[in-house]
Structures are given as C-alpha cells and as structure tokens.
Point group: C2
Chain length 269, copies 2
Amino acid sequence: VTSSPDFWVRIETPQGARHAHLKGDDVVPIEGSIFEEWRPAGDPLPLKEARLLAPVIPPTFYACGINYKGHWQTAAAEFGLDPDKTWPRTPEIGYRSQGAIIGPGQAIVLPSDVPENVQVEAELAVVIGRRASKVRAEDALDHVFGYTICNDVSARGWQFTDRTFWRSKNADTFKPLGPWIRRGVDLDRLVTRVSVNGELRESFPTARMIFSVAEWIEAITRYATLVPGDVIIMGTDGHCPAIVAGDVVSITIDGIGTLENPVLQESTS
Amino acid sequence: VTSSPDFWVRIETPQGARHAHLKGDDVVPIEGSIFEEWRPAGDPLPLKEARLLAPVIPPTFYACGINYKGHWQTAAAEFGLDPDKTWPRTPEIGYRSQGAIIGPGQAIVLPSDVPENVQVEAELAVVIGRRASKVRAEDALDHVFGYTICNDVSARGWQFTDRTFWRSKNADTFKPLGPWIRRGVDLDRLVTRVSVNGELRESFPTARMIFSVAEWIEAITRYATLVPGDVIIMGTDGHCPAIVAGDVVSITIDGIGTLENPVLQESTS
C-alpha cells in the first residue's frame, strides 16, 4: 500500500470506466482494484487528453451534515435557532445518492423549476480503502485510502420545505466529485477555497471540523461497516456562495486538487 | 425481456456472487447482466443447496417512508400529530444504506446497546430494470424489472432521538432483502403478511399505498434518474411487530415469496 501512487483518477475508455494513476503528465490505466491488487493495462495517455470521471462510485455515500461551527452560525439562523446552543454534540451520519454524482468538468444542471438560491458546499471527501468495523479513532486513518473533493450542491428553497433532502441535495448532477483521489495528505495543513467565475468567495481551514475524520469513522463503524470505496463527505464551513446558470464553480483544497464544474439550466423543451 | 425467467436469485459461488434463475427445483447461474444480456454459465444446482444472497445490491437504495395511512395512524401518535391532518401529501423519497443489506436467512444482529423496541417494517421492494428519467406514471411500470421484499428493520428508540436514521434503520444487517426478484406480478392482488416465530402478526393489502409505485417513479424521476438495479422500498402498513434476539421473522407477499431472517444479539466480547 505504501508503494501505491499518490494520485488516482477514473477515466472513460473504449472499454468503459477504468481507474488510472498519474505518472508525470500521463495517466496509466490499470486492471484490478485500486483497493486490493492491480496491474498496469493499456497505454498511458496524456492527462489533458483523458476524460476524467468521478474517481470512485461509492457503495454507500455518507454525508456528515453540519460539521463546522462557522457553517452552523449561518444554518442555525435559517432555522431560527441559537447557534451556540444547538451545534451538533454527537456525530450522526446522513446519506447522499450515488445517482447524483458527476465528474470534474461535467455540468451541474439546475432543474427548470428549482427555487432561487442554489448554493455550493465545498467539502473534503474521504475514500475508504479497507473494511472498517468498530474501529477506534486512533486507528481510523489506517482505513482511509485517500481524499478527494465534493461539491454538495444544495437547493436551499427545497431543503427547508421538503421532508427529505431528495431533490435539494440529490437531484441529478448535484454531487460533483473529483478530480482525483490524493493519497498521503496531511489534513491539518489544508485550506479549502471556493471560487465562482474565478473570484475567491470563501476559504477555511479544512481540518477545523466539529468532529474529525477519525472521530466520524469511529462513530459510523460502531454500528455500520465501511467497505473499500465508501465515501464520506465532511461538511462545509463559512458562507456558501450561490450559483446560477452560466457560472463556473471551483473548489480547491491545497495538496488535493481543484474540482471545477460549469453550471447550466435544464432546458424546458 | 418478455422471455426473461420469472424468478431471479443471487447466489454465492466459488467465483463470487452470481445471478441465477429458477428452473423447476434448480437454480441456473448466468453470466452478464440480468438487466441487459446474459447467458447460462455453470451447472444448475438444487435451489435448496444454493446459498441465497440479497437478489440485487442497488446503486442507490431509495425508501418511501410513510406510504400507508394505517401506518401513519401509529406513527403520527408517536410524534403527537393528528394523523388525518398530517399524512404525506407529496411523495418525497429518502435513502437507505447499501451496507446494511443482508440476504434471506442471514441474521439480523441487534447492536449490544440498542434501545428496546426494534420493529419489523414489511415492505414491497421495487427493482428498476431500465433507465428512467422524467417518466410519466402511466409509463413507469415499463421501467420496473420485478419485485422483492425488504424488512426495513427500525430501532424506534434511536429513530425518535437521532437527527438521522443512520443507526435506527441503517445499522449492519438492518436491511434484509429477498428472497428473489419476481417478475410479472399484479400488485393489486397482493397481500403482505408478517409473522414472528410462525405466528401471523399483521397483514395488509400490498397495493393500498398513499402513492402508488408508478406515482413514486414519476415523482423521483422528475429530478433523479433511476438506473437498472436501483431499489425502492415502498413503506409499510399497520402495526409493526417488535423483535428480540431468538425470534425468527418472516414477511410473505403472495406471488413474490417469503423473506425469513433470524434475530440475534450482538455479542459484547
């Protein structure tokens, strides 16, 4: 595992989706499982010619929800709550839909009837590499394969009226994931930055979470087994920029990469 | 598609999980996709010697929540609501965790610290066979491959205190699914029956839903594309029997089959 390459992408090939690792300016396709055994398969191609897909499709797609106090300042106000008294005291995980996932560069398509105020939530995404059941926090990071980035696109108009997050957070294209999985990063040094149309709109220290990655893994695996490929998105901080059709939104986490997606409006034809 | 066998199972083989169809008292393993192209592969074996797995692992696992007025009579009382004024007026889908799925005959394992009152929710499970986006209700059933049964095991003590359904409904083993997928059933004639230790505890007409299967598919696919293998569990009616370690719970839907699972207590070693 220690000899595994640092960057893993998933690309479209004539034979279907394939994992590949970065080597210089090229990507090297592989056969097998990135989490178990693999071997190079097929010719390397230049990274800039590869069509990148979401780097993993999780069996179960977990979401931490509120996990930064700064974001809760804003969210609590929406609910009419006192943020200092109501931030989460226990880690209770939620879910997102695999069907909503898109890759880097693919378009976020706003449904024709979506209410105003669709927002970006810039989130660290944890990719599980080893089965994890009843893991203690001090051992939890041994079960992490690497990290990527998720834009937890949220239609606030629906989020606050619907009983579930089905269309507010899980409409088609609402879960951009990528651009790749980075291994061997030190979370404590990372900063998350959100830009819309090239203008920096928010930044925050990635690791300033209410519960850490390790604490979430301990909590989840008390009751639910995590398996290779499962993804946990870690919540966002600060203010969430709104996006409209025509925008390009990018999320950068230092040391991981940049996830960039254009925003389109669904045609009503 | 019309020539596809009526009953599909998924079985454990030395080569891993395989789909197979029923033929008399035998199961016939196949290669390929039950939703697209497949061919027989390997020798038939007697059904009673096959180890059945959950018949499908959905890419996205949808749950309808409250979808029968009888069940809402009970649930509303728990929330202190007037059931006649508060039953769902719009179909808003939720999610379950793939990681919680087990097959027929496998044990539901109660976590060592689960509060009292773990209940059975007997549910029809719809298996999608064809990609479905913006489908009208009148065309929706063309996208259904077949039906199976789900036990949406629910730890009420956690359900009413946690912010999400993570451990109340998605703890390991809490989503028995099976025993097989049945094609070509007429939902209007079906009855769902729940037994604990061989004693009938509840029964209800399967189709007496607030929103029909076709209406749910129309609602979901307005915003989210369903893909082959996706599963939608349709909610339950009436009273939900409680289960404790040592019980055997079975759910029968006429024309589909019987999903039976023993209940164990997690060891605290």
